[in-house]
């Protein structure tokens, strides 16, 4: 336990102060205030369910060979190439929060690339199966893992249809305070919840826009006037494995 909690200390302290001010919010979203990465929300604005955060990916715009979103996520959250301390793990064991997937239509040979990460399901199987409740969904639709409660059973990894989660196979150093990563626990894309809570945009989306590909739009799916809702309304968007009825927060176009 101490292995994981040591690097978290600064955040934890921050958590205690903020959670104290937001005691009222704790009742609205039980569990939320136990989470380390999610504590940037000002005390007077509890995480509420009037918003549902989502990302729309336009695979037609996604650059074949471009890896900007992945690199940005690595930098932002301190994994992959941005965290050399994960050096004992084999490539199959190293964590991946987001990855570029290339798909080739077997019939037409048409090749498309797209970023793949936690789809922030509205009915997340990972949350359903988690025995301790460490996997949880915030009121605003973001799915997270509470690293303090995760026992490392990996049932969520078995249940996730998108292989979105990774298990940490060794002790890690140099972690970002907002993204503590503990040996023996499971982690996945947080939709950059620390940025979102400060009215920011996830790092991947930002990087994609900076690359001028503009293949990703982030926003509130419940707000009719948000860019993401307007785009979805106009052009539509698909869920990957829509047959599972998970109502994902990440949608795709061009696949």
């Amino acid at each position: 336990m101490s292995d994981t909690s040591k690097p978290m200390d600064p955040t934890r302290r921050q958590f205690i102060t903020k959670a104290g001010g937001a005691a009222g919010a704790a009742a609205i979203a039980p569990g939320v205030f136990l989470t380390t990465p999610a504590q940037a929300k000002p005390a007077d604005q509890p995480v509420s369910n009037d918003k549902r955060w989502g990302i729309l990916v336009d695979a037609n715009k996604c650059g074949n060979g471009c890896n900007a979103c992945v690199t940005a996520c690595e930098e932002e959250n301190g994994w992959g190439s941005a965290n050399p301390s994960e050096d004992h793990s084999s490539p199959e064991q190293k964590a991946h929060w987001i990855r570029k997937v290339t798909i080739k239509d077997k019939a037409t040979q048409h090749v498309t690339t797209l970023p793949m990460m936690c789809q922030h399901c509205e009915n997340p199987p990972c949350v359903d199966v988690c025995p301790t409740g460490a996997s949880f969904k915030r009121e605003d639709g973001i799915v997270l893992v509470d690293k303090h409660i995760c026992i490392g059973c990996r049932y969520c990894m078995m249940a996730c249809p998108y292989k979105a989660r990774s298990f940490i196979h060794e002790d890690l150093k140099d972690q970002k305070p907002w993204a503590p990563r503990g040996k023996g626990t499971v982690e996945s894309c947080t939709m950059c919840v620390h940025r979102v809570d400060e009215d920011g945009t996830p790092a991947c989306v930002e990087a994609c826009n900076a690359e001028t590909h503009k293949a990703m739009v982030f926003g509130d799916l419940y707000d009719e006037n948000s860019e993401i809702s307007r785009e979805l309304k106009q052009y539509g968007g698909k869920e990957i494995r829509a047959d599972l009825n998970l109502n994902t927060g990440v949608r795709y176009r061009g696949i």
């Binding site: 290339t102 199987p125 949350v127 078995m158 292989k163 989660r165 002790d171």
Partner: protein
Amino acid sequence: MKQVLKYREIEGKSTGFWILLGGLGALIALALGAVLYMEHEGHYVTGMTNQIVWGMPHVFAIFLIVTASGILNPASIGTVFGKTLYKPLGRLSALLAISMLVGGLMILVLDLGHPDRLIIAMTYYNFKSIFAWNIILYNGFLAVVAIYIWLMMERKMNKYYPAAGFIAFIWRLILTTGTGSIFGFLVARQAYDAALLAPMFVIMSFAYGLAVFILVLMAAYAWTKRPLGDAVLFRLKNLLGVFIASVLYFVAVYHLTNLYAAENNGVEHFILMDGGIYTKLFWIVQILIGSLLPLAMVYHPTIGKSRPAIATAAALVIIGGFAQLYVLLIGGQAYPLEMFPGYEVTSSFFDGQVSSYSPSIWEITLGVGGIATALLMVTIAVRVLKFLPVTLEDAVVDPHAAKTD
């Protein structure tokens, strides 16, 4: 003339007894060493990856947990279905059930990323999770069976034990259904997406449980030089034959229905035809060596009456059971998740590829340690408490059966 049934502790003074205890103890010590190493270093020293997240320890753990449930059968048949021949086996059967479950849970817990958080697992419940339900089911099972044993042993309480036996019987059916459902709920994985898995696990538990029971019974009576008559043994081995055949039937239905469901065609093709090690394990070990061969052996008019052959058949069923769980568990994960039907998929995270898994010595040691724990519990229990009937000769067990069989 029917004699009264007497139970007695085993003597436990022979060198063999101490060698057995020492050997089991050593295996457990090795397992704990392996756990310390895995937990200290992290799971990178194991064969598990982010593609195959449940590895060899889970194969062992699930085998033991499933077996624990099925091994209660001799007790249930005696108590619930009132078959006198099985009554003397009740205590041992219940003891084995507890021990196997403890061994299996030990493996499961020690393979967690955070075994030190056991308290969390016991206090934070997500009641939507079948896994959390299983924790409750397992603990309840241990309690129910312990009470059942006590009622069987305590003469004054004897009249209540059929009720306890009945509860234990129902409980363990639910428990195995729960274990099977762990997989049944994984809708994302083609190999596990079948309601059939839960009943299949129940019937698997019958076969594995009886196989282990036969072996333990034969060993215990041979080593303590207590008489074990043909009546009991032949009845058990015939029952084993029925269970093996039932598992085969379920396996056939499972694969046929999966073949029928178009979306599961890929994984079926993988397991049955070109899954490499998994295909070999399935056809050669699970079906041929682990099912058809023992089936032929127990029903063969002459071989079926030889004790070494019966013991071998039981051992083969166990080997086949391990193969079955390995194919189901590891093979089911090795086959890539199908996210984009109709597309060829590649990525830097091994999407669209068959994953490979090679169990590490640490994981195997942990698994063996779980089995050793179960057996050590049994060995000590039969030494200090009256679990084993002094004799299971035909005349004692069931004079009728002895004549008709």
